[in-house]
């Protein structure tokens, strides 16, 4: 299996501190070199915070795991200089088709707004993403990536955490002001801390198969066309009573998820003699294919009680788990790192109080609950729990073929979009009326601009410190060590297509305060330094008294 990909093996290196036996305290130690840990490492390093990353293994994620990466995730990776490559190598898609039995019941289009740098969605195997993130970490200043480092124990005092780590050279200890646990759904760190991780388990099993079709195969069934689309079947003729999901990935690899039901035996179902007939039934007997990967999984929707336990912060699947429908796992994990990086930097540098880190929990637990709600509802639609629920579900699918009224109810997964932090304590509520969707707490929407005569994108101008995006004259505003720099439309950037003005309701004089994670903190119709100062202080949990 896996003819299209060879797993890299990364070298273990003994660290200087283990050799010397001297206890060293690092600002940040990240546990887990998966997509979330590696993204967090690159984000913090790019903000000038050095990090150590520990991983108990020495390669990338094995097998078929995360597939779909949404616009917001790509925007975060673009800030780290990686997304253009991912978009070029991954598979873009916008059309989703939903079938009931043997009929097309509904087609949706992600209908991405035109003129954004990043597409709505790409499919790209997780191992490719991780391999590139590792490469970027190796090239980055300030990322110390250590393979074959397994954390066995964790103790906390009021100002640091002490980790006991096992390597091929034995045990040693290291300290960290802050630990970020990005060690996945089965997080050892979570277990060491004793944090509660509860929610709903689903009594269902799914078979994942990665399939490569033999070149020149004729008579391919619909769905396996050259144009990438997401295809989802309820109760198809080739897999009665269950659902099937099909995605195209890079390197000509097709990912198929077969729902198996709760009674399926995971060990039996993984055997090629069971898997191959299932795929043959779908593809037709004339199509030759090879299996790249097979696994059986079940899932849960749950989240950690609190994203911060003393000096330990949880991110990604270590903090929340969702069902796979909607591609909300890796996507929401990357958004965790986006939220945490700038806050942690401000706290480490003494520029913001600890209370700012608690807003990491406030905002990301809110997002996790939103994601869990979406993925639970999709799962309930895909796997009805009672006869009446099944009958209603099938009624929706039958009606949807001809009746638009039923189509919003068809739920094969609501695809990941960023959850706006609408109630965040970091927001300054509007005091004027605005059109459009850029209310406080929302991730900034992209728009084309020109800077110094060169075409570019709004989001490329945001994401380092706080920014005052202004549609009129304004001046930098300072609170403590933080300066919100002005990005004036018409002076610093040209609104070349008028879309910036349109998307931000940028009437003359309008001003947005934008956070380092490209989220709106506040907005006004005219520049008032005192109001901006108060909003900046609020967005940092600094109480300026303004």
């Amino acid at each position: 299996m896996l003819q299209t990909y060879t797993y890299p093996e990364y070298a273990y290196r003994a660290s200087a501190e283990q050799r010397s036996g001297k206890l060293k305290c690092h600002p940040v130690v990240i546990i887990g070199a998966g997509p979330i840990g590696l993204t967090q490492a690159l984000d913090l390093a790019s903000r000038g915070v050095p990090v150590v990353v520990l991983d108990d293994n020495c390669t990338v994620s094995i097998g078929s795991r995360a597939v779909c990466y949404a616009k917001r995730t790509l925007e975060v990776w673009d800030r780290l200089g990686l997304a253009e490559e991912f978009v070029a190598k991954g598979v873009q898609w916008e059309i989703g088709k939903v079938f009931f039995r043997d009929q097309l019941t509904y087609t949706f289009n992600l209908l991405p707004e035109a003129e954004h740098k990043m597409p709505a969605m790409i499919n790209y195997q997780q191992y490719h993403i991780e391999e590139r993130l590792v490469q970027a970490c190796e090239q980055a200043n300030g990322v110390d990536l250590r393979w074959k480092h397994k954390v066995l124990a964790l103790e906390q005092s009021s100002d640091c955490a002490t980790l006991t780590v096992e390597t091929p050279d034995g045990l040693f200890k290291l300290q960290a002001q802050w630990v970020i646990a990005a060690d996945g759904a089965h997080s050892d760190t979570r277990r060491l801390i004793g944090a509660d991780f509860s929610g709903q388990f689903f009594q269902d099993r799914f078979l994942i198969a990665d399939v490569v079709l033999k070149e020149g195969s004729l008579g391919l069934p619909p769905g396996f066309g050259s144009r990438a689309e997401r295809w989802f079947w309820f109760d198809p003729p080739f897999h009665r009573g269950q659902s099937v999901l099909l995605h195209k990935q890079a390197d000509g690899v097709w990912r198929i998820d077969f729902q198996l039901g709760w009674d399926a035996d995971p060990n039996e179902e993984k055997k090629p003699e069971r898997v191959i007939p299932r795929i043959q039934a779908m593809l037709g007997p004339q199509v030759e294919f090879e299996l790249e990967w097979v696994s059986v999984y079940q899932f849960a929707c749950r989240r950690i009680d609190h994203f911060r336990h003393g000096r330990v912060l949880f991110a990604g699947d270590a903090a929340h788990q969702v069902s796979p429908f909607g591609a909300r796992g890796a996507n929401t994990g990357v958004q965790d790192t986006d939220n945490l990086g700038w806050k942690l930097k401000a706290v480490i540098e003494g520029q913001a109080p600890l209370a700012l880190l608690d807003t990491y929990h406030e905002e990301r637990a809110w997002a996790a609950d939103d994601n869990i709600g979406h993925s639970t509802r999709a799962t309930d639609f895909i796997t009805p729990k009672s006869r009446a629920a099944l009958r209603l579900r099938n009624a929706v699918l039958e009606l949807a073929r001809s009746e638009p009224l039923a189509r919003p109810l068809v739920n094969s997964g609501r695809l990941s979009t960023p959850t706006p932090y609408v109630h965040s304590s970091l927001n300054t509520p509007d005091s004027a009326l605005f059109a459009g969707s850029m209310c406080p707490g929302t991730a900034c929407v992209d728009a084309p601009i020109e800077r110094a005569g060169q075409p570019g994108w709004l989001l490329e101008q945001l994401g380092r410190g706080f920014v005052l995006l202004s549609f009129g004259p304004a001046a930098p505003v300072q609170v403590g060590g933080h300066v919100a720099q002005v990005l004036q439309v018409g002076r610093d950037v040209i609104d070349s297509k008028g879309l910036l003005q349109q998307r931000y309701d940028g009437q003359p004089g309008t001003l947005y305060l934008i956070r380092p994670d490209q989220h709106v903190a506040a907005r006004w119709r005219q520049f008032d330094p005192e109001q901006v100062q108060a909003a900046l202080g609020r967005a940092l949990k600094l109480h300026t008294g303004a």
């Binding site: 509802r377 639609f381 009672s386 009446a388 638009p404 009224l405």
Partner: protein, 68 residues
């Protein structure tokens, strides 16, 4: 007024989840009964006989196998 055939429910996913949740702990027979009562309650709310006739005909024709 004629029957609405375009989507008309705010937050459709939450509505659907509420409809499913309302069947929790009901037997299959009770769930059928509950849904039948819901149909009658909603029909009464609509009241307009022409609209009801249109809705009944649509539900029936959508359920019958295509005649051609």
């Amino acid at each position: 007024m004629s029957l609405l055939r375009h989507p008309n429910i705010d937050q459709p996913d939450l509505f659907y989840a509420e409809l499913i949740a309302a069947q929790r702990d009901l037997s299959d027979e009770q769930a059928d009964m509950m849904l039948s009562k819901l149909v009658l309650i909603l029909c009464n709310h609509i009241g307009d006989r022409a609209v009801l006739s249109e809705a009944i005909a649509l539900a029936r024709s959508n359920t019958l196998p295509a005649s051609d």
